[in-house]
Structure formats: C-alpha cells, structure tokens
Point group: C2
Chain length 392, copies 2
C-alpha cells in the first residue's frame, strides 16, 4: 500500500496499461475495491453526453450509489456513437464484472479521446482478460492508472490531501476542451471519510463549483467529462472539515490541469472581488480567464490591461468602470477609469512570472470568486489543428 | 463623384491620410457633407466604452441626429483613458468643426487601436490643419478613407448595394476583437434614402442583429466598435425594401470581415435550422462559430464533427441529440445520434474549400439563424501575442 494516492486508501487497487487504443502509450485504467464503495459524481452538462456517461449514470442509480470499480479508457471518447456506443459501454462493464465476479451495475465506465468513432471492442475484450491478477496497490500501479487516462496532457496528475487520518486522493486528466458546467475533465477521487451519499454529493457539487467549474483552458466543453468521488466509509469526519479538504484537493488538481493545458506555459489566476453576488464574481472572472486576447497577451507579456478590461466589460453584468481597480501580480495598474503611471520595469518583470495573478476590485458589493486558466500559444493551435488526422 | 461607394452619394466627400499615429500607414479618416445628414448608430455594449463613443453618443443627442461629419483615427483606441480621453475626443470634434465652420455637435468621432494610451493631440491638431481642402469625392479619396481606419486588417472593406436609384454604401474595418452586442468593428454607412430617424434606427438595429451581431472572429468584444448610418434624405423608398437592402449590405461587409480576420484563411458559415425560437437558433449558431476547437479543426481539415456537436451541446439551450442532423458543405454527416457512413474522399475535398458551410437541423421548431466566423490559426496567436509591444 502506498503512503499517498488512491492506493493509500484501504482496499483500493489500481492498474494502468496499454491495450492498443493509442499508439504505444497506456490507454486503459482500472480502480477497484472488493468491498463496496459509496459513489457520487458530477458529469458534463453537454447535451451530447458520451455513451459511458449515460451508462455510468444508470449504474449509479441501479446500484444505489454503491459500486466496486471504475473502468476508463483514453484514445476514444465513445461519444456521438449512437446505440452501438451504449451497447459497447455496457458490454465493457459486463465483461469486467464477470472477470471480477461482481455485478455489472457496480462498474462505472468512462472514455476520453476522439469523438465519433466506435470503441474497438476486440481490443477492450482482449485487455480485460485475467485483469484481476494485474491489479495492485503499489505506487507504480497507481502511477500507471494516472498515465493511462491522459490524452494530450504532458504529465500525470495525482493529488492527495489529508487531515487527522482522513485521506482524499485522486488521479485526473485535463488538457484541452476544458470549460465548466460540469466537469471539465476526468477526475477519480477516493476517500476513507464516512459520510452519506447526500453529504458526499453536496460536498462534491460545492467543491466542483469552486474549482473545476471555474477553470477554463479553451472555453470548449467536452462530451465526456466527469468527476467521481468514491468512499470506503472508514473514518468519521465533520462535514464542514471534509468540505474544506475536498475543495482544497479540487483546487489543487484544477491548478495542475491549467498548468499543463495544451500548449500553455503560464498559469492565470483571476480574482474578482467585491461583486454584488458570488455568481456575478464567478461569471466575470470566467469572462477574463476565457478571453483569447487576454490569453495571447499573457504569452506576449504586453498589451494585457486593455484586454482584461474589455473582457470584464463584455458580459451582461453591469460593471462601473469608474469604480474598478485592477492589480496584476500585486501591482496597481488601473483605477478611476484610467491606466495608472506604473513602474514599467516591474510590470514587465511581473509579466515574465510563471503565474499571472489578476485581481479585479469591482467595489460593488462583498462577494468574490477566483477563476483559473492559462495562456494561449501557437502550440495550442498546432495541437488542435492536427489532433485527429483522418477523423471526420 | 464615384459610381460606387460613399462618394457616389450626393454631397459626401472623404479623405484618408497619415498623421503619425501609426508607422507610415494611413491612420486618419474623414467623411463629410456640407448639407446635414440624418445619423443613427449602434455601439458596443461593453461597459468600458471608449471616450469617442461617449462623445459621439452625446453629439447625436445634442444635434438631434443631424450631423455633418465623421472623424476617425486608427492606431489608438482612446479607451480606458479617463477624463482626459473625453476631453481629447471633444477637442478633436471642436478643432474639426472650427476648420469646417460647423457646430461641434455635428461631428461624430471614432477611434480604433491600442487601449489605454492617451491620444497624441499634437498630431491630431497638426493633421486637422486646412483639412477642408483635402476632402474630395473621387474613388481615391474614398479608398484612402477606407484604408485609414484599418488596424490588423489586410484589405480595406467597401461595399455598395443599390436598387432603383437608392444607394447604400459603406467603409468598414474588422479583423480581431470581434464579437457581437454591438457592434463588432467600425462601419460607416451612407445612403440617399429618405427615411425618419426612427425608421433608420430600427432598420440599422435589425440589420446589425442579422449580420454584425452574428459574426465572431475571436469571441472578444471591443470597447470601441460602432456602426453609423448617415442619410442625405434624397429618395423615397418603402421601409421594407430599404431594410432588405441594408441587411444585404451588412451581411456582405460582415462576410468580408470574417474572410479577412486576423490570421484566418477560411470563412465559416453556420446555419441552425428548425429551432424553437430565432434567439435560440442565433445563440447556438454563435456557440459553434465561436468554438476554438471547431476553428482549429477547420484549419486542420480534420476532427471537425465531434467538436461541432460538443459546441452545440454546451449551451443552456436544450438540444435533442437524437433529432439533430448535420451537413457540412451539403454532405450529410450526422443523424440519429451517430456519425453516418460518408464518402471520405468527398468530405476531405469539402474541407479544402475556402468556405465551410455547416448546417445544423435541430428538428425542434421552425426558426433559423446564420452565424459567420473564421478558422483559428497560429498566425492569429502570433498577431495578438505581439500586437502592442511595450504597452501595459
């Protein structure tokens, strides 16, 4: 058993391996527990939900939020694949359930990758043969699992937070097609905290709203994105403390996703302060973090401020330019509807930092929100221009 | 007097010249009529409206929509420039009015370019000296005027439409930071149609909603964008016919802007058919045309369909995937929630066309809307990364 990560939680085993959906790279992940796990999830709100999401939703309901496994593949999204897609996702669960001698509805299934191509079921079937013996609880097993869900990510993403014996750990994938409501990527979280389904779901919703739903890589929402929270129900914890800990984990993993976004090299943190409502603060922060012109200005380290203001003014929310104050990496830049005289040397030094922190004070109320994002580069365009050669 | 363009309308003269706001390129445009012109306008809804917009709005009111000139500069947006910006815009109008012996409020003023830097008034003053003698009604005068409002545009944009002696002509600039509500760029339109202020305003609003407000280059809204419609009140026309003609002009100029967008080489036309409401059709068409992933797929000529569907499904509008039919350049691609078997050779041939026409049939109602956009390239990122060196 590892000291950190999913496999540091009693009874959870993992694997990640190559079954031939991607060239050479690992593309198949399992998270398993012989004892039942309480499971809740948030899914993309996209109308074109991928087949595995529809199947996982059904299984969560049928199993009454009591599951034993997550089966996930990368390289193929099994999205926009019609009835065949549903049958394939169901069959994947059934074969795995049969191998492990569990019920089909105790398996959740996820896919990420290219849209519109049928899942090659022969490869899935071959990959699932004698899978039980390949599961393990070492760091290597978990690292492989974290690797095998990646698409255009550069690094696997693993986060653990803990407090007084309570652990929350996750593996995640991000990169492109990342924009809220819900969920912005795949993230599989496990905890030993003893909480009800309702408490877990509420905590996950709240944490997601303050992290994944405030994260934008390219403003594009995926058909497949999902966050799952599994619990072994071992240790008592105050709900409030769990909430804090879970939010901390979700913010950490969101930051990792923004840092490792397609073609990006810089993290952008936009805090909107003193808004009338939290919702308005969140929406305005998102508008700034999502602007292609703000994002290219961060790459170019110049021409940033006007673009931030233009983005801030472009929503349907009323903003009073005369009240707005703007700071970039702590430096006061704009106030009373005009640019301030600033130390240019310091400004340009700040623009070379890895993380650009933009603080916008609306002076309209008392609520605030933070959005996370990244810069836009030619590399992003290149990756997404040539991502899926030969695909419709 | 020209046969086409603004200067083909009785009494309208133009000039475009270099006054030193940009390096070498023309940067100062005048449109003038000694006889009063009825004027209406639509402006950006951005909260950070540039100073010249605030001044032009005031002048329209004060002159009771009766003006004689448009003065516009490129190279500097006079936006986020505080009180000084307002004073500078007012002074520009006052100097010009003095040169031409007209009233200050008969002058509308516009700026486009970099945000946050004060207008160099010495150059403006120098440029306005003896300006009357430089005005003219030849094609060259108008071409110069069209050139002098450009920023990162490659080509000047001039459109004329006419019917039974009624003329509507315009010059426009577009390129980046283009997204609706209102107005997406600078466009100065003149007509000889005899119509009331209310009729002209209503016609312009309607035409803008079907053209400029359905155009997206990068989803970023500008602080300066404005469309002005001037009338010499010469010829009677049925309002309905004028409306059609004006919409035709606005769609034509929107298409020119999309074609010449920063770094783009391909035009994208997205038609959403059979929606419940026109508003829903418009919003969905805009969602598709604005998706960075759809835009890069058009550059790459591959992986387009899944991204179109993901964008279509990502709004708050309910879309039924089982009812959606998708055609690309006339080829049926998607229906009944799955990709169809298509002639790949024909698909890839279509993807090489200059204009990619995406038709989405929702089968939910009877309303439709078209949105215009372009592809996203590394060149766009390059232009906007290095657009304003040395500016905050």
């Amino acid at each position: 058993m590892s000291e950190l990560g999913l496999t540091s939680i009693n009874g959870i085993s993992c694997l990640g391996k190559h079954i031939g959906l991607k060239k050479k790279k690992k593309d198949f992940t399992i998270i398993f527990s012989a004892k039942p796990l309480t499971a809740v999830a948030v899914f993309t709100t996209n109308a074109f939900k991928a087949a595995p999401i529809l199947v996982s939703k059904k299984h969560l309901k049928k199993s009454k939020n009591c599951v034993k496994a997550i089966v996930a593949n990368s390289g193929n999204a099994n999205a926009c694949t019609g009835l065949q897609g549903i049958l394939d996702a169901e069959e994947t669960c059934a074969i795995f359930a049969n191998e492990l001698k569990i019920k089909k509805e105790e398996v959740l299934v996820f896919s990420t990758g290219v849209i519109g191509t049928a899942l090659p079921m022969d490869k899935i079937k071959q990959g699932l043969k004698k899978i039980k013996s390949q599961l393990g609880t070492t760091y290597v097993h978990e690292f492989n699992a974290a690797q095998a869900i990646l698409t255009t990510d550069n690094k696997p993403k693993q986060v653990t937070v803990q407090q007084n014996g309570i652990k929350i750990a996750c593996i995640a994938k991000g990169s492109g097609m990342i924009n809220p409501n819900m969920a912005t990527m795949l993230c599989f979280i496990a905890t030993n905290a003893k909480l009800s389904v309702a408490e877990l779901q509420k905590s996950l919703n709240l944490a997601a709203n303050q992290s994944f739903n405030q994260l934008s890589v390219d403003g594009c929402q995926s058909t497949n994105d999902s966050v799952v929270l599994l619990s072994t129900q071992e240790k008592q914890i105050e709900l409030e403390n769990f909430q804090k800990l879970l939010t901390e984990l979700c913010v950490k993993v969101s930051t990792k996703i923004a840092e490792d976004a397609e073609g990006a090299g810089k993290l952008m943190e936009v805090k909107v302060k003193n808004a009338k409502t939290q919702k308005q603060a969140a929406l305005l922060a998102k508008a700034v973090v999502s602007s292609d012109l703000v994002k290219t200005a961060i790459t170019g380290k110049t021409g940033l401020v006007g673009r931030i203001l233009a983005a801030l003014g472009s929503t349907f929310i009323k903003v009073n330019p005369a009240k707005v104050k703007l700071l970039i990496n702590g430096q006061k830049i704009f106030s009373h509807n005009q640019f301030l005289k600033v130390d240019y040397f310091l400004f340009h030094k700040n623009m070379h930092k890895k993380c650009i922190q933009i603080e916008i004070n609306l002076n309209q109320g008392k609520k605030e929100s933070v959005a996370l994002g990244c810069n836009l580069t030619k590399k992003y365009v290149e990756i997404n221009t040539f991502y899926a050669p030969g695909v419709l």
